[in-house]
């Protein structure tokens, strides 16, 4: 899977991990390395592996060798068409490249803001790598425990009929329509697939999910003020999403609204004559990322 240390590539310049670049290469890892493309679950994974291959300490500054291989790997990865995955590798590659460039420049002449920033970027990369390595190592413990417990059998049998009747009478308050609304909530798409930008801007309230709530509430009540629609909601994001979904529903002519005076209460009325849940599924598509 991963190249073993003795198969270490001699120099970064000719170790692009594609065999066609090294036709006369007698190291069997040329193919081995290529086969392993894609098994790296992330840039840190690859970086750790490369560092391990070269037996470099991850606090070692001289990373130029690893940088070359990393970038060569990235070149291969682009064939995979997975933009998101590629961009994750790209961020780390850019940092590595920065560090390599900095290593080539004359040292210690200026301490300007730029080099300080670079230093911080490097430290951050190392720190993240260290952190990642710690979690990676401990994940082996998780795997061991999970496998061990997986084989164990605990007593978990059905409750005897005679004890079932001992349970208190069920209090049931839902009508068939309430129940359908419940189903609607349960089936409403929970997660819109997102590009992993969460670490930049923390997410995410689903407009579609909130629209399902708005639709359910409005259809049940016929008419509500927006204030009522968001009563009890503590999260600003949810309020915003409900408002956006109101706008979207208005666009679909599913509701009408009325505001008697500026900044006064907004009264929403359900007006859709033929509302299909398909509308809901498509709602807010503009906001999908």
């Amino acid at each position: 899977m991963a190249p073993s240390p003795e198969n270490t590539a001699p120099s970064p310049e000719n170790t692009a991990p594609s065999p066609e670049n090294t036709p006369d290469d007698d190291r069997e890892d040329a193919t081995g390395f290529r086969v392993s493309l894609g098994v790296f679950d992330g840039p840190f994974d690859l970086l750790l592996n490369l560092l391990g291959t070269h037996e470099l300490d991850i606090t070692e500054v001289s990373l130029s060798k690893v940088t070359g291989e990393f970038i060569a790997y990235l070149r291969e990865l682009q064939a995979g068409d997975d933009l998101e995955e590629a961009s994750e590798f790209l961020v780390v590659a850019a940092t590595l490249l920065d560090m390599k460039v900095a290593g080539l420049l004359p040292q210690g002449e200026f301490v300007d803001a730029e080099s300080v920033a670079l230093l911080q970027a490097r430290d951050l990369l190392f720190a993240r790598l260290l952190q990642y390595r710690a979690f990676k190592e401990v994940s082996a413990w998780f795997a061991r425990c999970l496998v061990r417990e997986d084989r164990r059998h605990s007593r978990a049998v059905r409750l005897d009929e005679k004890y079932r009747s001992a349970a208190p009478e069920l209090v049931w308050t839902l009508s068939a329509d309430d129940f359908a609304a419940m189903a609607l909530l349960a089936f409403a798409p929970k997660e819109i697939p997102t590009v992993g930008l969460d670490h930049l801007h923390a997410p995410l309230v689903s407009i579609r999910e909130q629209a399902a709530v708005v639709v359910t509430l409005l259809r049940a009540a016929g008419s509500l003020t927006f204030r009522e629609l968001v009563s009890g909601v503590a999260q600003r994001g949810v309020v915003v999403a409900r408002f956006l979904s109101v706008l979207e529903l208005y666009r679909h002519a599913a509701i009408s609204f009325e505001q008697i005076e500026p900044l006064g209460d907004l009264t929403l009325t359900w007006t859709a004559e033929r509302w299909s849940e398909e509308n809901l599924a498509a709602l807010g598509a503009d906001y999908d990322r």
Partner: protein, 194 residues
């Protein structure tokens, strides 16, 4: 008794009896522990006496009983009231939101496996399904021919609670369901959840 070999027939039977849901015939038990039926019969009789406190140990809170041609562990009858009270305090009289949503998913998608329900709700539903089973609102209706996963459906008790006569009277929400099937496909790893 303490001198017995570590993996005696009786001990192996104890292991099997601990996890079985249904009464097991002597033949089934013999197959399970890989011992001849007469030896199993003897060991079962030994265990009955053992749990009844006739072999020097205490009279256990459970007993080994033959019901409907099979053997199974039961709570000893003396403790029925205790257990009944425990079950009573454990079971809430109202269903939780999670239970209601799970019930709704089962109602609209039946027959459906726990794995499929979990995929729709994006949470593990094992304990909730157990609650619904215990409440008689859902029941096992078969198993998936390919995966062997148990499939669940709703019962007449749900219809009664909802005040409708048949599942056809459930309000339609079908357009969303098509979506769900698409999502359910990748929501989980292929094998689903046991």
């Amino acid at each position: 008794m303490t001198d017995e070999p570590p993996m005696s027939v009786a001990r192996k039977l104890e292991a099997i009896l601990l996890i079985v849901d249904e009464p097991q015939s002597l033949v089934a038990l013999a197959t399970a522990v890989g011992e001849p039926v007469p030896a199993v019969r003897q060991a079962v009789e030994g265990l009955v006496a053992d749990y009844d406190g006739l072999t020097g140990g205490p009279r256990r809170g459970f007993e080994l009983r033959e019901v409907g041609g099979g053997w199974r562990l039961y709570v000893r009858e003396d403790y029925d009231d205790l257990v009944g009270e425990f079950v009573n305090t454990q079971a809430p009289s109202r269903l939780s939101q999670a239970a209601l949503e799970t019930l709704a998913v089962i109602a609209y998608k039946q027959p459906v496996s726990r794995g499929q329900v979990a995929a729709v709700r994006a949470v593990n539903v094992d304990s909730v399904v157990r609650t619904l089973l215990a409440r008689g609102l859902v029941t096992e209706v078969g198993s998936d021919p390919e995966t062997g996963a148990i499939l669940y459906g709703t019962t007449d008790a749900l219809l009664v609670n909802l005040g409708i006569n048949s599942l056809d009277e459930l309000p339609a929400i079908s357009p969303l369901l098509d979506d769900v099937d698409a999502v359910g496909g990748d929501g989980l790893d292929e094998r689903g959840v046991r």
